[in-house]
């Protein structure tokens, strides 16, 4: 589903990713781990198409298409979803109205008809319940005044609502206590499907206790330096990044 070959990405004058390779098939859950500043968030932004992240070399292929050529909203409509580490607060736009606009935009882009307000509300309520997102939260302005946990839950709610093909979760565990983490992980796990690929980006092994990946990649200095099964996370936990970074990639 996703094929990244020799990806080089610069932000301003600075090269952050320096020849990254990654391949994810439908139905798989991959995790990217790495120390701070290794380029994890850059990878997630490049996949979602944020301006200012320039691909200087390499190729990202998504279901056979050159992903870099697509605008962010086109990627979303084609099933790319990024759960952001810091979801943006937008005063003046209510959460419910945002969800409806986004959902219908994606549907329209795929040639589907709009859902009316009642249908959207029904859909959202059903998903909201399992993620413990209150009715009151949906009425408030998008992410404004939300706690860290609330913001992350709303991101997962959107993932459930939009049913993406490729979901990228950027440090979804950051700032969450253990109960909130479990809730979010459960939400993610119910979305695991044979048609869906997931890329979980995290600094800590903790999240991977709850979202067990098929494969783990270690990102450092802009490259994948180690790869393995889920046991790699435990090794990292026990020995730290230093240990892995010293070994030849």
């Amino acid at each position: 589903m996703l094929e990244i070959k020799n990806l080089h990405v610069s932000v301003g004058d600075k090269e952050i990713l320096k020849g990254l390779n990654l391949s994810i098939k439908a139905g798989e859950v991959h995790a990217i781990m790495g120390p701070n500043g290794s380029g994890k968030s850059t990878l997630s932004y490049v996949l979602a198409g944020r301006a200012g992240y320039d691909i200087t070399e390499g190729l990202i292929t998504y279901n056979g298409e050159d992903l870099a050529a697509l605008a962010p909203e086109v990627r979303a409509a084609k099933g790319v979803f990024l759960a952001m580490q810091y979801p943006v607060e937008i005063p003046g736009v209510t959460t419910m109205m945002f969800l409806k606009t986004a959902l219908n935009s994606q549907r329209r882009a795929r040639g589907e008809s709009d859902l009316d307000a009642v249908a959207v509300l029904k859909l959202v309520r059903a998903k909201a319940k399992t993620l413990n997102v209150s009715e009151e939260m949906l009425k408030r302005a998008l992410n404004v005044g939300f706690s860290g946990g609330e913001k992350k839950r709303l991101e997962i709610l959107q993932m459930a609502l939009f049913e993406p093909k490729l979901a990228v979760l950027d440090e979804t565990d950051s700032g969450l206590d253990i109960d909130a983490l479990k809730l979010v992980a459960e939400g993610v796990n119910t979305l695991r499907a044979s048609s869906r690929a997931m890329l979980v980006i995290t600094h800590y092994q903790r999240l991977l206790d709850y979202i067990v990946p098929d494969r783990i990649h270690v990102l450092a200095r802009g490259k994948i330096v180690a790869e393995g099964g889920k046991e790699l996370a435990l090794e990292l936990e026990a020995k730290g990044y230093e240990h892995i970074l010293k070994e030849p990639a």
Partner: protein
């Protein structure tokens, strides 16, 4: 700073004529008109002596009306007409207008149906609205298109009175529209005003608001959405003459094309007006290379026990918010529209009357499509 006013309307008009005579039509060299050169906008036509018109849609029960062009003004008109405000164009309309409308809401009357007032046609015209003690009203003011019109509006709020004033000014390429409203707000009275402007060749809404008694309040908000060569100027002066008074101002402007958005807001706290509380915020978004925003939030403080603050900002749409919306599948143009609406929303949300608020939202949507 209390003006000693002549006792008759004629004498007050004569005084205004003297003041206007010494100033003439303002140019940008007059500090208060720095961003709106009226003389240039009018060109050779000048301000003329035409009499502009007014119209009131079905008078709600409990509202008394008097045509100012007629003789025999009742006592309440004699008492209040031409008593407030001596800014330049206000004195021009006092000098050059023979007519206009005076409206009175009797003591304690709560008028539930909005009063709709329209000023139209070319030339000068006066308005007077008196809410006696404890009265309340929603005033919906429409602005008719004209080559040039100068409205001088006086509003008097008695103790504990409450007025919501919604003014919508439609866009027009060639109109030069000027209005000065002067308000006296007594103790415990509350004035809420909302100005929605889509700009014209030169469009100026000027307010002078005196908070005269304990607990008097003025809450102003406004939005303007401008494109083409539209110009929109909101100039306010809120004077806290008495202690424990409060004022807030929240103005949002969006300018595209070659448009120019102007906000000048001055807050004065008079000596001894302790406990005054004032907050001012003015923000503008520029959408094109040739648009301009000029903001001048001003504080003039002569008392120490006050809380006064203002903020102003000019910029473009937040890139991060735009990306977030697009990453969730909302196309760029739509996402921009959504963010523009959101930018204006807190100023629109201040409108208490639900029908008016929805009407404004609809009008803004149309205008934003034109601009974005």
């Amino acid at each position: 700073m209390t003006l000693v006013l002549p006792s008759t309307i004629e004498a007050r008009k004569a005084e205004a004529a003297t003041i206007f005579g010494s100033h003439g039509v303002p140019t940008r060299r007059v500090e208060e008109w720095k961003y709106s050169d009226l003389k240039v906008a009018l060109g050779e036509a000048g301000i003329g002596t035409d009499q502009a018109l007014w119209q009131v849609d079905t008078l709600p029960d409990g509202v008394e009306m008097f045509d100012l062009s007629r003789n025999g003004a009742p006592d309440w008109v004699q008492k209040h007409f031409a008593t407030a405000g001596r800014n330049i164009m206000g004195t021009a309309s006092l000098t050059l207008s023979d007519g206009g409308v005076a409206l009175r809401i009797a003591k304690g009357a709560k008028i539930s149906r909005p009063l709709k007032l329209t000023f139209q046609g070319n030339g000068h015209v006066r308005g007077l609205l008196v809410l006696e003690d404890g009265a309340s009203l929603t005033l919906v003011e429409s602005v008719g298109i004209a080559d040039f019109r100068n409205v001088g509006f006086e509003i008097v709020l008695g103790e504990g009175a409450s007025l919501e004033h919604v003014r919508i000014s439609q866009q027009s390429a060639d109109a030069v529209l000027v209005e000065e409203a002067s308000l006296c707000i007594a103790a415990g009275a509350r004035y809420c005003a909302h100005f929605v402007g889509f700009g014209s060749k030169l469009s100026r809404m000027e307010l002078e608001i005196a908070l005269e008694g304990e607990g008097a309040q003025a809450h102003l908000s406004g939005v303007s959405v401008l494109d083409g060569k539209r110009h929109s100027d909101v100039t306010t002066h809120v004077i806290h003459r008495h202690g424990n008074t409060a004022s807030t101002q929240l103005f949002k402007h969006v300018a595209g094309g070659n448009a120019r958005a102007v906000y000048q807001g001055k807050v004065t706290v008079a000596k001894g007006a302790d406990g005054s509380d004032s907050h001012q915020s003015a923000k503008a978004l520029l959408l094109s290379e040739n648009a301009e925003a000029d903001l001048k939030p001003e504080l003039e403080i002569f008392a120490d026990d006050v809380k006064c603050a203002h903020g102003a900002a000019v910029g473009d749409l937040d890139a991060e918010s735009l990306f977030y919306l697009r990453a969730r599948g909302i196309p760029e143009a739509e996402a921009r529209g959504l963010l523009l609406q959101a930018f204006l929303e807190d100023a629109v949300a201040e409108i208490v009357n639900i029908d008016q608020r929805e009407l404004v939202r609809t009008e803004l949507l149309t205008a934003l499509k034109r601009v974005a």
